[in-house]
Amino acid sequence: MRGIDVEVAPGEVFGFLGPNGAGKSSTMRMIACVSPRSEGTLQVLGMDPGVDGPRIRARIGVVPQQDNLDAELTVRQNLEIYGRYFGLSRAHVRAKAVELLEFAQLTERADDAVEPLSGGMKRRLTIARALVNDPELLLLDEPTTGLDPQARHLLWERLYRLKREGVTQIITTHYMDEAEQLCDRLVVMDGGVIVAEGSPAGLIERYSTREVLELRFTPESAPTAADLAHLAERVEQLPDRLLLYAADGEHVHREVARAGHRPLTALVRRSSLEDVFLRLTGRSLAE
């Protein structure tokens, strides 16, 4: 990592976006006071992870990329025993577990083993476990990777609830819709450096246009990007499509037709964070 200069305010939901291998997880491990950093300064909750690691870790919650629940314990025991690692009393963790089971919608499965749970349930339990110490800061490393849409939306709703309760959250993701849903502010990372920073809406405004017109042609009738360049702010040629970035997609669509081009299909959509992301980090595979 080089020059990852960010500041996250209390109560804020902050995102690290980037392709695989961009350095998101490594950054998260340093913030979580697990990996040492070779240089630079880092303050978490006003303390230095190099000095006060255990004290910081006692006040944060960590949701790792891979679930690491204890398969030898039941759902409830996973919460209670994890709470005990924080030095919380038996009575406290017992009551807290009931509350968290409710939060994660796992009350009916409380005394089941962890193994037969679905991926979404395990993920919810991992998040619930990270809340056992009422953390002031929650670190979520790709919280919804591998979940079905229902499970993702339920998780987003729970994370939004935590935000309303004032829990600061730092999220890594490569799902742009997730970042748009959850983050107040985010940075896009690539190759260990920050390439852009802002709110989701601000980034779209800065790096993309309001709308995108996607055109598909037959190979014989396809115009080149240069043919259409004067019609839009930016034209991007993909193997199968032409993307025209403009404030008013319908207007550009009419102009394209007036210029005599006959696309097979045309789609006007709002610009998304995904357009920003692809523009900044490129379309080729990172690895």
Partner: protein, 221 residues
């Protein structure tokens, strides 16, 4: 115990055990062997699982626990389990008349100390293993099993060829077996006892240093 009956049946056991009933002679050594075997088992696959399969160590160190504390916690649990299963074993052997006196309680302590030393060293090694591969199989086949066969458990080491005997001295199990057997048979030989204790204590201390170091290296990177 069947083994003992066979040997006793030939009348040759008494000659090797110094006149002691074979079961009484064997029981404290089996205590040490089972401690070492469960130490080796509890310190291999469960350790790799903590780092790699279930990754519960990573969950623990995400909280205020340090890698060193996780290492010591796992080791303490292994030692506690050895102590409890050893106590049950003593109860069973006593029911079959294999316990000569209260010294067996010291045998249990000696066996547990031996197991603790082995567990700490094996954990330190297991924490450096990235993939299951053949590492643990090799450990069991080429270290643990030979150690159980040639540490004076089933027969006195003086029955081995002379050149093999010094090899048994490096085996922690031999030291543990000597301690456990002397305690069970109420034999008091101060110098050898001190020597065995010192050897095991040094191994345990070394194991404690190494296991904490290897857990830190694996978890804080």
């Amino acid at each position: 115990m069947g083994f003992g009956a066979l040997i006793d049946g030939t009348g040759r056991a008494a000659e090797a055990t110094g006149g002691v009933d074979y079961l009484v002679w064997l029981a404290p050594a089996l205590l040490a062997v089972s401690a070492v075997q469960s130490a080796a088992f509890e310190s291999t696959y469960p350790v790799l699982s903590g780092f790699k399969w279930q990754r519960i160590y990573h969950a623990m160190t995400a909280g205020p626990l340090s890698p060193e504390q996780v290492a010591l916690g796992h080791l303490s649990w292994t030692v506690a389990k050895m102590g409890v299963s050893g106590a049950v074993f003593v109860g069973v052997v006593a029911a079959f008349g294999g316990v000569a006196g209260p010294g067996i309680a010291l045998s249990l302590l000696a066996a547990t100390l031996t197991g603790a030393a082995v567990a700490a060293l094996v954990m330190a090694f297991a924490a450096t293993v990235e993939n299951e591969g053949a590492a643990f199989n090799g450990l069991f086949r080429f270290v643990v099993i030979p150690m159980t066969l040639f540490s004076g458990t089933f027969f006195p080491v003086d029955r081995l060829p002379g050149w093999v005997q010094p090899v048994t001295w490096i085996s922690p199990l031999w030291h543990g077996t000597e301690l456990a057997r002397d305690a069970a048979l109420a034999v008091w030989r101060p110098l050898p006892v001190l020597g065995h204790l010192a050897y095991l204590a040094v191994l345990l201390a070394l194991g404690l240093v190494l296991v904490q170091r290897s857990y830190r290296r694996r978890l804080a990177r």
